[in-house]
């Protein structure tokens, strides 16, 4: 049978070419992810399709995790250890934190091994390698979306009024995705070189979980430790979400700006690290 080719297709991209010079980074490498945005979509779709194809509960799993965690945390920290958050319902308070945390945790844990798991692909075909970890970060974003809808439902259920302040959730969650992408890119690149990452990552995540005001309010942190908290963009996201959802106030502008800048700097540095190490991926993976 005769095959039509992409050349005869009006939507086909013009054919591209490249020059590789030893020791010189390919110019325009940044832009290649944009040309390959269809690939990013394909990897995301693959991830979602594979994840939910054989799981009977499907997307419900995405909601079950933060809800179950919120229940356990409430039992342990509120009922047993009597951590108090004023007159706020502790379950809702902790779910607000867990919403951001479960996304970060799932995306990073999922994205870090993607390069190694796709070693066969990396050894055979060139494509912008960052598409693999970033696709996971974006695919898990679907869970974050559902989690946010549940958060809004819970706010309504507990009688918190909706206002335009809730629109702050968009930039706050964008900061969250940026930090997550940064950690995912750096982690995935380092994981190719050092398989230690597999063992170090759960430990680091556990430390970060307690270093972020999820089960406790940021106000409980002593003043001399506060700068450490402010440098963690996750803490700015969690605190901000609580401000807009539970306190009916805008997030602290200075801290939010610091969090956004921090996330951006992390992302650029992680991307540079990734592009620096990617040249050797196929040789050492």
């Amino acid at each position: 049978m005769e095959l039509r080719t992409a050349a005869s297709d009006p939507h086909a991209t013009p054919a591209e070419g490249y020059t590789v010079v030893a020791g010189v980074r390919t110019p325009g490498r940044w832009a290649s992810l944009w040309r390959f945005r269809g690939l990013l979509g394909s990897f995301m779709l693959r991830e979602l399709q594979v994840r939910y194809r054989q799981a009977a509960l499907g997307f419900l799993w995405a909601l079950l995790q933060p809800v179950a965690l919120a229940l356990i945390t409430t039992l342990v920290f509120h009922e047993a250890l009597h951590i108090s958050v004023g007159d706020l319902p502790y379950g809702l308070f902790v779910y607000t934190g867990l919403l951001a945390w479960t996304y970060f945790h799932a995306a990073v844990t999922g994205a870090v091994p993607t390069l190694v798991n796709n070693a066969g692909l990396i050894r055979k075909i060139w494509f912008p390698r960052e598409a693999l970890p970033l696709a996971t970060v974006l695919a898990v974003g679907l869970d974050l979306g559902f989690g946010t809808l549940l958060w809004l439902a819970l706010l309504a259920f507990y009688g918190f009024g909706f206002s335009f302040l809730l629109l702050w959730a968009v930039p706050l969650l964008a900061i969250l995705v940026a930090v997550t992408a940064a950690v995912a890119l750096a982690g995935a690149a380092i994981n190719v070189r050092f398989r230690d990452v597999k063992y170090a990552l759960p430990l680091l995540l556990q430390v970060l979980f307690f270093a972020t005001p999820i089960v406790y309010p940021a106000s409980a942190v002593p003043a001399r430790w506060r700068p450490v908290l402010d440098l963690n963009p996750l803490s700015c996201v969690v605190t901000g979400m609580r401000e807009i959802g539970l306190h009916g106030a805008a997030p602290d502008p200075a801290r939010t700006l610091l969090g956004a800048l921090g996330a951006l700097v992390f992302l650029v540095l992680a991307w540079l690290l990734f592009l620096r190490s990617e040249r050797r991926f196929a040789d050492i993976i």
Partner: protein
């Protein structure tokens, strides 16, 4: 018109024997003791020059370990050269391992979309041409089946169809066509000829010497990463066949 594929003084070295990846501990110990990296440096491709013009098929022959696969990886920018430079003009597709990008749990259709976009094709272009790709692969009936149920031949046919659909200006072929049956191989050779007629520059790596002699316009013979014979395909194949067979079989 400049050549579609151009290599100038390309060299690639590998460290063999040392740990390619490893634990942080090994690296820290090496840094602490200022020990040089372990392993010996092996030159896989040395100072190679090559031009393949549009509409030309160039064969590459040589023993295992001569640098043929490394050469293809360098051109496909999977691995970077240590010296020299190379240029690819236009879209490149490689038949290095047919179906390398396929995911076993996904259906044939989903894999065409995935594999095509790995090659840089927009998804809607692929979706618009699904029937044509499936037809070329002879898999109209199987496109909704997860490819984990495909046979090796079906896998290869679908991979080949997607790669050809990309309409490359430069095509790399490595030994892969041996997996299919006689009919599939014939279809592949016919398609390669058709791409050649359409102006695709083709680099054809194979141990199948009669095919190289018949299919290629020119050929080069590699030994230890260097070009030892070059010229018209038949005479290079004859020169390679006349050379003594080495015992060393490093892949």
């Amino acid at each position: 018109m400049p050549a579609a594929l151009e290599l100038r003084g390309v060299t690639k070295q590998f460290r063999r024997g040392g740990p390619a990846y490893g634990s942080l501990r090994d690296t820290l110990m090496r840094l602490l003791h200022r020990a040089p990296s372990e392993g010996t440096l092996v030159t896989a491709v040395e100072n190679l020059d090559l031009d393949v013009r549009a509409g030309e098929i160039v064969g590459v022959v040589g023993d295992n370990g001569a640098g043929k696969s490394t050469l293809l990886k360098l051109i496909a920018r999977i691995t970077p050269p240590d010296a020299g430079q190379l240029t690819v003009r236009g879209r490149l597709a490689s038949l290095i391992e047919l179906g390398a990008g396929f995911h076993p749990e996904l259906s044939g259709t989903e894999n065409v979309l995935l594999h095509g976009s790995i090659q840089g094709l927009p998804r809607r272009t692929l979706r618009a041409n699904l029937a044509s790709i499936a037809g070329f692969a002879g898999l109209e009936e199987a496109m909704d089946t997860p490819v984990k149920f495909f046979s090796t031949g079906m896998y290869a046919r679908l991979g080949f169809a997607v790669a050809v659909f990309a309409h490359p200006q430069v095509l790399l072929v490595d030994e892969v066509l041996s997996v299919g049956d006689q009919g599939f191989r014939q279809q592949c050779y016919d398609t390669i000829r058709k791409l050649q007629a359409g102006g695709t520059a083709i680099l054809f790596v194979s141990h199948d010497l009669p095919t190289v002699a018949a299919l290629c316009d020119r050929a080069l013979c590699l030994a230890d990463g260097r070009t030892v014979h070059t010229g018209d395909a038949a005479s290079v194949v004859a020169a390679y066949e006349a050379s003594p067979t080495p015992t060393d079989e490093l892949g």
